[in-house]
Symmetry: C2
């Protein structure tokens, strides 16, 4: 399709606010240096590597990602100027991992090097390609037989990567960790794991190195078919219709989104999902920068059961599993997004280098919770303005868990970042049927179920954590910001006639990275602020944006435990680093079989200066999960969130001028 | 109106899901022992007290509230049986406070006693009735003159109660604390306080005891007219229409609300707003109890400036200010509630005993955020069900602040309790214009602005806290419950080949009240559970409901500071007491000029047993507020919330049977 026509079509399509699916400059030529890789560009990366002799039949494209241009370049760039484009490519060849940098505009290979001691993410073909081999191993057959499993058709085996280097073989080999489940009676195999049987596999030699069989437990047989239970929907639910008869009030032009004074771009990244860029707010005609880039950086999901097959379940979900189809999975209209949503497709590199379209992986919609943006009752009258928000939603699905990932732009200059966790929990089969034998008294509180709880008969939901690291390249009124913690501190008033104490604000400017490591303690609260010491608002304060945490959690694992070192970002709730474009992933670029030599906890050890410079904030959103019966066979969605909100950025409440009606 | 007809009309009206305003059995005869007081009943209370000689011309009705019947009685009661009804009345007569208990059904006075050393809440006529007297005092006139204020028409003075006994005169007299503001140039007087001038007033003798004038500061002259700024609404906002063409799917019958397996009642209480009762969930045909009663209990709002006129600003908003019109103020259709909302009126006792209707103070509506109740991507398909919720909303407004108070019933058995804070912040005039002189570097961090920040020229938003106590009479499958804290504790794994640590669950049953005082520490997390040790779910666990906290705060004041003792509930995030129907208000029944001898922190000192008995949970929702420029002249709404959610209450996910479309 002609580029100009395509652009016009895309714009008019979305200006009308219609649903349907479209791409933000991913299929055609890029319109902006920060646009996602296009189909043509994926093929250029392929051609360059192929012509350089690196795309042999036994070579696999583990990762093809846009390499962003420098910020300075982006600031200077204007429409019409040439767009330099590069891709970072990770190739896997006979178990060796190579890193390539490709100049897409010049169609040439900039660099190519082998990464010794690091592992490319596992390919889908590796994970699922071991089934046949595993089911031929006599030790496995014997183990299955012990469990009464002789029909191999309904048994599925796979090999997963392990995020951290738990066994010495991982130092020199590409090791997969095998396990099996069975599917008989269901249309999926969650909840029917084959316990106690684990394998260690040399993924290159395609050889099973070790079969461990610790415990024969029958496969659980609970009700797992969530989609079919029950037969009939509950009656009496009358329809709620949401419509925007005059179309959406957001616009997309040259792949930039404009809505209610907000302006931003986004691309869909194979590894980390939506990346929002150049987030600006139009304030009385001035286009003011808030955030250069915001995205998920990484996920860390450690399980909490010490038995064989469970003690090494520690997932670094984005970095380990994005190869192939990518982190994001399709959204379903009417379920995940409303009738007035617009949809966007993503592109990802398949393992042979060819791009694949991921359909409708991001949606954008306005919604109102019927809440006031502000209101006040005064003199027998109610004043106020109704609020709405713009939601950019995607769904990250890695195996069993589904995470709805929202960026919710508020009219008042705030951005609410939210994660809704749903999907299927990981369960362990138990010989014990249920908890019926457990009394509920103090004496029985040193119980057998400390690692999980029954969610169905013979089925234990295993305890675990979820930690998300969000990377927030804040540019409040420009790239150079300082990070402040305004601490609220008790102050005694020895001579006050009326009272003995108040709290007072003690601001602290973080000079180095360690000053900006924030932990939430209710006894010692503080307000976290990115402020621009070079720009003052009308009242003389440096303009700023606050990071307001939501309910969250920190990791309880021992800091010297390797999995915890890898997920070290979960030690603290907020971190600040000087912006280094090579430091994007909080658990490092290559978390597979990792020794935790890269990532946020490592970088910040050097305690770099961070005052009045280009800063990146890292928010840890975490929650502990003790499964409950209600989480089975599929979990009700649970939301967690945090907020990015203006603090002395504007000259007053920025939503006084909203219309009085919705 | 005939009672039967009225009931039928009310039911059919709401069954059709129309908007408009109605009362839940508040104007006519009660349909249930927990219904709010009716117009007729207010008049019975009046008549009984009048006939007993207690309603003389100088007597004031400070409070007339339903006195709930005993739970046992309510459980035994059935439609058609007589409904015993009582009211608790507080009378104020020549500065003396009297407490009466009136049997409404028998039309007789049960008890009457003077409360020595306790103060009835202030009447509106007391608060606003001092204006003329104050403006006649030569010391005040002199003070106003010093500030250039000679036109008294635009000066407004009032006398506020003080929650705690800060001065010795409060021990023996009814003391009001006077202050003035001016209104010239605005349609309200927020933001134009007259600083430094305070008064101490004997409210009975109507005598100004003391005038303190510490500091002459000009009245601030910032832009305060939020409703008129700017002249034109921003363009480009296309309408979002929400409709329920077939009507709402909730029903109200005999003033009981039914929606999506939920059943509950509510009444509108003058002091604490909506009180939900008999909250049950229909589970496979069984009507199961979740919560007997849930409501706000109290608010505690201490300010953090030690200067004259500010050092005693500590509000116990419900208990001090509910007299007269009551806590709740009207909701505006289209602003506070959507087009598909139903509205409910409240009744409150005026200071002469006559009931007054508060129009549209509660609304009830279904809404969808276009979020899935659950979803899962599996085998190239997305499965799931769209969610909706039922919102019961009110707006508590005490002077400057507006709190939207939501009870959000979820289809999955959870209840989200949320507070949206908006309205106008309290400001202090400053001789200094703004913060322009402040540098942003480490040396200037011991700053002049530690008690607040400029929000407009010469206008400082003063730092303060908000603490809400919610009273939750949980009855999980019956009244007798135990409270558990499932602690997540690090466990080292010295012999594990794969890792060094996990966390394990260590449950604790709270035997006495002190065991159940919960503090949030990210290092020592726990899950808070009301469990019924007498009822087991299908998997053998006691059935339970979890209290899941949201982001919150604890008080930083010194525990031995009297205001903090009064708001002592803010020391901890959760408390559990044995149910005592006389213990309803977390800062005590009579917080005005109080010595903090009543309330949650006092009751729990006796450390009563709480195992397997009728329990009440007390959740503290708190936040510190350092005002920002954006909070002026009216605050963007900020939400905080917590959740009450099933934990091993059901046999599985309870929303598998939702319809597939919204």
């Amino acid at each position: 399709m002609d580029r100009k026509l395509s652009r016009a079509l895309r714009a008019s399509f979305l200006l009308m606010g219609l649903g349907g699916s479209t791409a933000i400059a991913q299929g055609t030529a890029p319109l902006h240096p920060l646009d996602g890789l296009t189909t043509a560009e994926y093929w250029v990366a392929y051609d360059v590597l192929q012509q350089a002799g690196h795309a042999e039949p036994d070579s696999f494209f583990a990762s093809v990602l846009l390499r962003e241009p420098a910020k300075d370049f982006v600031f200077a760039w204007k429409g019409g100027l040439p767009i330099p484009r590069e891709a970072d490519v990770v190739m896997l060849q006979k178990g060796k991992t190579f890193e390539a940098r490709v100049d897409l505009a010049a169609r040439k290979l900039i660099s190519w090097r082998e990464l010794k001691g690091l592992q490319a993410p596992f390919l889908s073909s590796e994970i699922f390609g071991t089934d046949e081999m595993i089911k031929k191993d006599p030790r496995v057959l014997e183990a299955l037989k012990k469990r009464g499993l002789t029909d191999l058709n309904s048994v599925e085996c796979l090999a997963l990567p392990l995020s951290y280097a738990a066994v010495p073989e991982q130092d020199t080999q590409r090791i997969g960790f095998g396990s099996c489940s069975q599917q008989h009676g269901s249309y999926h195999s969650w909840g029917q794991s084959i316990e106690g049987l684990t394998l260690q596999i040399d993924m290159v030699a395609k050889k099973i190195l070790k079969v461990v069989d610790t415990e024969v437990v029958p496969v659980a047989n609970g009700a797992v078919n969530y989609e079919e239970i029950p037969e009939h929907a509950r009656p009496g639910t009358t329809p709620i219709a949401i419509s925007q008869p005059m179309g959406a009030s957001f616009q997309i032009k040259n792949s930039e989104v404009s809505w209610q004074n907000w302006h931003f771009r986004f691309r869909i990244d194979q590894r980390i999902g939506p990346v929002v860029n150049l987030v600006r707010f139009e304030d009385g005609g001035r286009m003011r920068s808030v955030m250069y880039e915001g995205s998920l950086s990484e996920l860390y999901v450690p399980y909490m059961d010490p038995s064989n097959g469970w003690n090494n379940r520690v997932f670094i979900d984005a970095g380990e599993f994005y190869s192939g189809i990518g982190l994001l999975k399709p959204l379903r209209p009417g379920l995940d997004c409303p009738a007035n949503a617009a949809y966007f497709d993503g592109l990802s590199a398949g393992e042979h280098g060819a791009p694949k379209i991921s359909s409708q992986v991001v949606c954008l919609f306005e919604r109102t919770g019927s809440d006031p943006a502000w209101r006040h009752f005064e003199g027998h009258n109610v004043y106020g303005r109704p609020a709405r928000e713009l939601v950019m939603r995607s769904a990250a699905v890695v195996g069993n868990y589904d995470y709805l990932m929202d960026w919710r732009f508020q009219q008042d200059g705030s951005i609410d970042v939210a994660v809704g966790a749903t999907g299927v929990i990981e369960t362990k089969a138990s010989a014990q049927k249920d908890a019926a034998g457990q009394a509920m008294d103090q004496s029985s509180m040193n119980m057998p179920m400390e690692y999980g709880q029954f969610v169905a008969e013979n089925t234990i939901g295993v305890n675990h954590d979820h930690f998300f690291s969000y990377r927030l390249d804040m540019d409040v009124d420009g790239p150079d910001n300082s990070f402040m913690a305004d601490r609220m501190v008790q102050q005694l008033l020895p001579s006050d006639p009326m009272r003995k104490s108040i709290w007072a604000v003690k601001p602290m400017i973080a000079v180095r990275e360690k000053d900006a490591i924030m932990d939430i303690h209710l006894e010692t609260p503080s307000m976290w602020l990115f402020a621009n010491p070079n720009v003052k608002g009308p009242l003389g304060y440096p303009t700023g944006y606050e990071i307001m945490p939501g309910a969250t959690a920190k990791s309880l694992l021992s800091p010297d435990d390797l999995p915890q070192k890898l997920g070290g970002f979960s030690e603290h709730q907020f971190w600040v680093t000087p912006n280094d474009p090579m430091q994007r992933y909080a658990a490092g670029v290559y978390p597979t079989s990792s020794k935790a030599t890269d990532g946020l906890a490592v970088w910040t050890k050097s305690n770099r200066p961070i005052e009045n410079t280009d800063l990146v904030g890292w928010y840890t959103l975490g929650f502990h999960h003790m499964p409950r019966v209600e989480d089975w066979p599929v979990m009700p969605t649970m939301w967690h969130h945090f907020q990015i909100r203006p603090f002395n950025f504007f000259g007053a409440n920025p939503v006084l001028d909203l219309p009085k009606t919705q």
